[in-house]
């Protein structure tokens, strides 16, 4: 017979001995602290918190104690287990933080290595300038009008007060469609679009006409037989040259920079009267550098022709010149690109070398 009836003295159970408990706790804490990886911590946890660990055994023995001793022993064992559990969790957390940090270091790549998995294309800068100019006018409530590039002589010349004897109608300036008496040309300006608009649209009229135009110039650094213009036309009651100037001032500021002074000079065009040339202050030297390469030292940049729509043009388009007035202007897109972006050679704009367009990206 075993001594089960014998009165049980807890003091006799070694694992419940306070000193032994303390030793077990110390041993566990030491082992946890010594664990230098999550793996060794797991081993230490099994040893000091597992089912066969001294504290687990001690915990199990509490049940066998007489009721009077249970509370006291339970309290001591619980505190010991609590200390061990907290130490474990603490160490576990430390090691996880360490591991996470190490992982990030290990996963480091050289982000400075060049990457171009996909090639991005680009817009042609002339188109971007054209769109930008169009947007400036659309923002003012104008609309963009377009028309054909192979155009009738009447729309291109006669309607604009360029009669049959006008020098521009000669073969040395204009591409004629064969046979020459077909009455068709490659438009020499986008003005025929203005004529079409005046014939077709309701008044008042505020339009800009961007587009490709043609002159019989050989391609060189400053000429191209095919180039781009943007022309504007406003027709309403009471429009004056002051409105023309206001519009062009806004245009210049929006495209080249705020506060640029403008200058109108008298000039001549068959389709406007009075006519003017518009210059603006060189945005590079502001007129202070006699050797400035952008403005040639004059301090002014020639920007385009303009004027009040000639009565004859209104008549050809069926508009009452006594009731309506209007103004018109025209500028070169290539020139804008050359000025704004320092393009030196017209040929680069027409050759289609992808390196040319790519340097401008998608917005200009």
């Amino acid at each position: 017979m075993s001594g089960t009836n014998k009165s049980y003295d807890p003091v006799e159970v070694s694992t419940l001995d306070p000193a032994a408990l303390d030793a077990a706790v110390t041993e566990a804490l030491t082992a946890f602290a010594a664990a230098d990886s999550l793996e060794s911590l797991k081993t230490a946890r099994l040893a000091h918190q597992g089912d066969t660990s001294p504290l687990s055994l001690a915990n199990r023995e509490i049940g066998a104690l007489p009721p009077t001793a249970k509370a006291d022993a339970g309290k001591r064992v619980g505190m010991a287990r609590g200390r061990v559990a907290r130490a474990l969790a603490e160490r576990q957390n430390e090691l996880e933080v360490e591991r996470d940090a190490r992982l990030l270091v290990e996963e480091t790549v050289d982000v400075s290595a060049p990457v171009a998995r996909r090639r991005l294309g680009a817009r042609h800068p002339l188109e971007l300038v054209s769109e930008r100019v169009g947007d400036i006018f659309v923002a003012m409530g104008w609309e963009i009008a377009e028309g054909p590039e192979v155009e009738s002589e009447w729309f291109n010349f006669d309607a604009l007060n360029l009669g049959v004897d006008h020098p521009a109608r000669q073969m040395q300036d204009t591409f004629f469609v064969d046979p020459p008496d077909a009455g068709l040309v490659l438009r020499t300006h986008t003005s025929p679009v203005q004529v079409r608009s005046m014939l077709e649209r309701d008044l008042p009229l505020y339009i800009v006409c961007p587009g490709k135009v043609f002159r019989t110039d050989e391609l060189d650094a400053t000429h191209s037989p095919v180039f781009h213009q943007i022309e504007g036309l406003a027709v309403a009651e009471g429009l004056t040259m002051a409105h023309l100037r206001g519009t062009l001032n806004h245009f210049v500021e929006a495209l080249f920079g705020q506060g640029l002074e403008t200058r109108l000079r008298p000039s001549y065009f068959p389709f406007t009267e009075p006519s003017a040339e518009l210059d603006f202050r060189c945005f590079i030297c502001l007129g202070s550098d006699g050797s400035c390469r952008t403005c040639g030292g004059t301090g002014w940049i020639e920007w385009g022709g303009c004027g009040m729509v000639n009565r004859d043009v209104f008549q050809a388009c069926g508009i009452d010149p006594d009731r309506y007035t209007g103004f018109a202007f025209g500028m070169g897109i290539e020139r804008a690109l050359m000025l704004r972006h320092g393009v030196k050679d017209m040929r680069e704009m027409v050759e289609g070398d992808v390196r040319f367009s790519t340097q401008f990206g998608m917005e200009i």
Binding site: E127, E151, L162, L264, R265, P274, Q315
Partner: protein, 868 residues
Amino acid sequence: MRAPVSWLGEYVEGAPVATGREVAASLVRMGLEEEDLHGGDITGPLVVGRVLEFVEEIQKNGKPIRWCQVDVGQNGQRVTEGTPQGIICGATNFAVDDLVVVVLPGAVLPGGFAISARKTYGHVSNGMICSAAELGIGSVGSDDSNAADGIVVLQSFLGEQDAAKLTPGDDAIELLGLADEVVEVTVTPDRGYCFSMRGIAREYAHATGGTFRDPAAMASAAANTSGYAVQLADEAPLNGRMGCDRYVARVVRGVNASAVSPPWMQKRLTQMGMRPISLAVDVTNYVMLALGQPLHAFDVSTLRGAIVVRRAQAGEKLRTLDNVERTLFSEDLLITDGGTAVLAIAGVMGGATSEVGASTTDVLVEAAHFDPTSVARSSRRHKLTTEASKRFERGVDPDITALAAEMAVNLLLEFGGGAADEGVTDVDHRPARARIDLDPSLPARLIGLPYSSEQVIESLREIGCDVLEPTWSGAGSGSDSASVSAPVSKALSVLPPSWRPDLRNGPDFAEEVVRLRGYDQIPSVLPQASSGRGLTHGQRVRRVLANTLAEQGFVEVLTYPFVSAQSHDDLGLPAADPRRTTVRIANPLSEQAPLMRTSVLSTMVEALRRNVSRGQRDAAIFELGLVTRPDGEPRVAPIPGTLERPDNATLGQIMAAVPPQPRRVAFVMTGDTDPAGWWGPGRPADWTDVVGAARALASALAVELVVTADDHAPWHPGRCARLELADGTLVGHAGELHPKVVTSLGLPSRTCAAELDVDVITAASNVRVQARELSTYPVAQSDVALVVDEQVGAADLESAVRQGAGEMLESVSLMDIYRGGQVGSGRKSLAYRLVFRAPERTLTTKEVNGLRDRAIAAAAAAVGAVQR
């Protein structure tokens, strides 16, 4: 047109002393654009020198040079103070004791040519003896063709009398007027009068407030009946205007044939960019430059009969002064001798036979007024632009004819001697100039500045108009007191000056008012535009297309729309292909490319080749632009003329004659589309990239694109996708180019391309997309592999699957295409992933399987598909 500052000063009194640049700025304000500045670019020391002695040394090349000792006075002495200046000179047209012009070290000659002492031909040359060319003052004699290279000998250049007053060391810059600057301006077509010093000086006076001294303000000999006979016999006036409405003829006899024009005149001619030739020619040129009236000098001894001005007859010929034999056109206005021998094309150029020459002593001076249109047409027909034609085309003052002849006669008499004939011919058929009514408030209304009537009248009078103010009804003549002071007519009555044929209506006068009062006064007022509607749908579509292509890796290019007929062959277009029908340019820049493109692709080829040849082997480019697609029916666009709106029928005809020009977008690519790099190998572009890009364009605009196989040039017949809208409208083609096309165009093999009709896409995308409700219930996937014959298109199969699967099918993706033993030869297996989703519940597996089976059944029925 050039204007020496000193000459301007002669015609404008009271203007402030100004530099060339200041004068140019003044003229710019008046509408004469600055073209250039000449002269005034010599800095001294440039002095008078006397040749004391020289030694001529023959060089190895046989040419002599002279080692000269020149007295340049004390002031000029720079390097060898107190002793004569030793100078090397290559010219030999001077002698000991001649006075010459010496440029000393430290000076700068025209063109930035700096002078320094230098060792040459074994001597130290302390400066240079100057030629006329080096000083920029033209030639020094008339008989030596190399005169400009000769040394300026002041005794002959200035005359013995003037030269005698000179002392060695005198400043030669002032002496020769070399400080005088010459302003060159552009004259617009409406200001013909500014092709004269008289006209430019008038504008300079307006700009500076100086007083204009009219060089034509002089008396001319009265016309009489004893002058040289002249008949104006234009039987075919153009536009009802006489080819010649005034002809003045004056004769000077006994002119010294060897007389040369005076140095001051030679200098002015040279400053103006003309070459002094002989007294008679120089005088006619000088008067033309001064007054703007072109003159012609005939040798009287070559004339047989009356001067007859008439139109040419068929077959007539004239050898003109430029020694070109010209066949005349029947519209040419001619000056003839007795109506038979042709002397000149009126207002353009004279003939060789009647030219004044070295032996001419009797000179007939012609001053005439020719119709601008007649001269312009002759000038253009003969491709002959002359100083005379330039002026007549733009309009010469018809009131100055006799005065110009008078000035020429006086100059001939002064410098060539002889005597003027008593007879003075002036056949004068000038039409009366019309007065024009002007509402004095018009300039203010047009310019936006409150010009008063007084200001308007003052400005118009200043430019030479005769202005009559409104006529007022007499006081007390009206019963109504309010109307007593009311003008009968509010309009001014304006008679423009004779030299301003361009002033025809109110706006013309308004321009004069604002020009005189200053364009800089025009205020800046932003007009309030009527509310615009923004970009059109088509304009927005084009931006989307271009930006989408750029994002897909294509670079935008803008190529010339000109092609050769050969390019149609190179593209392999069939004989009857409508793309062979196009518009031909009558005067192309290159006979190699006289046609307008019918496809955008055709002109991009060169740009692609250029990229490859410049080392850009991986290139993808696109272009958006118009093509010309006439229907082949010849049509003529009427030209109803200016000033009036054509009737609707005529406008309709004009518009119908303009060929259709649809807008296209094309893209072409070669080399790798995904670049190679440290991340791995590149991926060469193939047909999937261009078809994919085309699909992306359609998706970007929410347009459904149906893709089927096609055989269409210039594409590979087995790799050509036909792109259509759901309704079957053709959008375009995409795929790999035909190997033959690639070879004939010199492109890298496997080049891929596409061309789409932007107008079709624009129309198709112009619908409002209606939103689907998005279901939040879970999706159910079902994969299925279908085996079909090789000929069955994936598009047809997918279409059947979609139709069979029904409304619950959310998406279908082709995951794999398998060919091989397992499916048998001539067959392929397409593996699809079907994704189903119901709008308001979770689909059961059974339901999904059922839908999948219906898709399979539909595919079986449509294209004979079998589940694998």
